[in-house]
Symmetry: none
Subunit: 220 residues, 4 copies
DNA sequence: TATGAATGAGACTTCATTCAT
DNA sequence: GATGAATGAAGTCTCATTCAT
């Protein structure tokens, strides 16, 4: 068991979209992870635009040439980062799904929001990277939305299981509204003073709960 | 009476923050407007990062030196653009404020959302510029938020007039939640198919209405 | 009697070399002086290269166009400044010449050095401007040397009067050696700690006195 | 034994202060030398201010990007040039040091001056670069003075060995006076007619010798 | 004569990417 | 495969000077 390695457990050899070569050997995978870790930190610290590929390679202590063996260009690093976040978020959510199912809807929503909030806290680069891609790769927004898309699917699924009675694609709309508005509010709350931040968090729950209750008022 | 709202009402020569020289004569104002128009179009079309100051000047048919007489650097153009949007949005909102006041709360919310949605439709660069600034000028987000801030103030004010009974800063929180979530949903709806877009718009209204009703249920 | 004006008494209408138009009216002369004062301060403070003509005009509170009516280009400002220094130094020296004549040679040398040192103190831009010109206008070094040239002439003259016995151009060489070496040492002493500075000043006197005594040893 | 003198004796890969990357391979060192040669010629011919980095790169027949791999900016080229002169001067002086030690003081001074004069003749850019730096990098004058500083140390050391009897820091002052005044006079002599130049050279020796004799008159 | 907005060549510097070793 | 020196197009911004008003 190698410590400090499974901090970010990457599912074995999933084909990350923009990558030039899938790293098969342990050493290569380590290097890719190192690049992404460094890139993440630098993007957050200095903004995507002002980070150079050479700086990333230097900080990651690998030659620039090697970096370009894994990533065809700078944008690919951003993409891989986004993909990694999507994977991570998915894991977190899977972990609480069973708990969610056993709670009353209101509590489930609150727990879901708290979990999502915690994710923002744990990975401050999440929304940052997310925004960057709009600028740098407008045509690749599909991938960027991956994280959201999975969340939305999961939310729609959960709702359709526990709150039946609507058409199937109605759940999609509701889930989208929930995920998007909550995502924005949580992100915005990051830049607020702690006390105000907590209040926003509570208010976000209220927004969501009253919305859901408008569909399933019996949830009391 | 809406507080913090007519701050930007002085039409003509208000001192725009980042500008090097305030254009006093008609010719200069024309030039500045031309620069902003061109920059807006290019930012939307190609993304902020890949637009160059020389390209803007060339497209606007003015010498690069003249551009730099008005704007100290590239970022200032972005800022001026954001300021211009804030002014425009203010005007639109002022135009419907009186109508809003005479409607039942639910209808007022719906009308407000429709107006805001129309603004997004009229000025597709609005949210785009807005997002750009996060990357290019992280420290200047305050200015970028100007449009939001004023909206939030206006909304808080309107709520406190028509729906009394809460503490004064509670209105701020509610208004913030409303404006931020609606903004995101409307923006996101832009990239959806028309029919789905309309549905999202309706759903946004529902989100907002049920949230407000959780505070003032008598509004029926 | 206008105060604050004769601080730097410029001999009436001497034709300064590089100037476009000799200022004949009081207002114009005031402007030219203001330009030179400002330019002097800025050159010293920021280095010649980084001062712009527009900055000089702005600081002097005259339009840039007017500046260009008196000076054909930036270099001309530097030249005029050097010429002004030459005039000033001349005046200072004339003022002590009579005293010098009545002193033993050693004391006269010491007094001359102190006077020259005081000039450096009063006009810190003197040597600074002097050096600048080497770079900016290599072909105009002749004018730059003006200040020195006058000093050297005066010194040669004084020597030939009080210490006869040498050929006429020998006095020139001696005077040149004296003025150039003293000038350098005094200038260099400016950047030293005060106590060390004083010591250098004394040592400079010793250098000069022993040199002169090698020609006129009877001076005891 | 001359203190502070063999500091720069390490021939090859001494870390030159302002350089971005130390050229390790033969090809790179050639390139750096080429850049410096070209820069030297251009600085002397056209003055520092009007030489551009692009022109240097073009003349040296290397891409501008390569130039910037070795030098972080234009000023660094100047600095490297000054450092190269310092190294050269050191070598010249080391070569005559043994001779100096075996001569009577007067003759040693004369030989030292001739050597220094020859250096000015061999490297006409020496004092030119030296002066430039005052303007371009006022804060870096320390480095520029390097050549002088070492000379002064060497002179002080030599004096203290052959002419004992003074306090240790008195030698510093004397050496400083000697080096600075001689340097100026030699430099100035460059721009004079040959016959007058020689006379100045002799006069410089006289200045120095009479000064030194005022301390050690027995040196006859 | 007086003004100051306008000009644009050109300065310095960066950095994503390649390819010879 | 691994490396990192080399590349040069392109970017941002300056500023001495002019000339229409």
């Amino acid at each position: 068991m190698i410590r400090g390695f499974n901090k970010r457990v990457v599912k074995e050899v999933e084909p990350v979209p923009g990558m030039r070569r899938q790293p098969k050997q342990a050493r290569s995978r380590e290097r890719v992870e190192k690049i992404l870790d460094v890139a993440e930190a630098m993007f957050i610290a200095e903004g995507c635009k002002s980070v150079t590929t050479n700086a990333i390679a230097a900080q990651a202590e690998i030659p620039i040439g090697s970096l370009y063996q894994f990533f065809p260009d700078k944008a690919a690093i951003l993409m891989a980062l986004a993909a990694r976040y999507a994977t991570l978020l998915n894991q977190k959510l899977l972990a609480v799904v069973s708990e969610l199912d056993s709670l009353p809807l209101s509590d489930a929503l609150a727990l879901g929001i708290d979990t999502y909030d915690q994710f923002h806290e744990d990975y401050p680069g999440f929304q940052a990277i997310y925004m960057e891609m709009q600028d740098t790769l407008p045509e690749l927004t599909a991938i960027e939305a991956a994280a959201d898309v999975e969340l939305i699917h999961a939310a729609a699924n959960s709702l359709s299981q526990h709150c039946p009675g609507l058409e199937v694609d109605q759940y999609q709309v509701i889930a989208m509204v929930l995920v998007k508005s909550v995502g924005t509010l949580l992100w915005m709350s990051r830049s607020q003073a702690p006390s105000f931040r907590l209040r926003l968090l509570e208010e976000t729950k209220r927004l969501v709960q009253s919305y859901v209750q408008s569909y399933w008022p019996e949830d009391r």
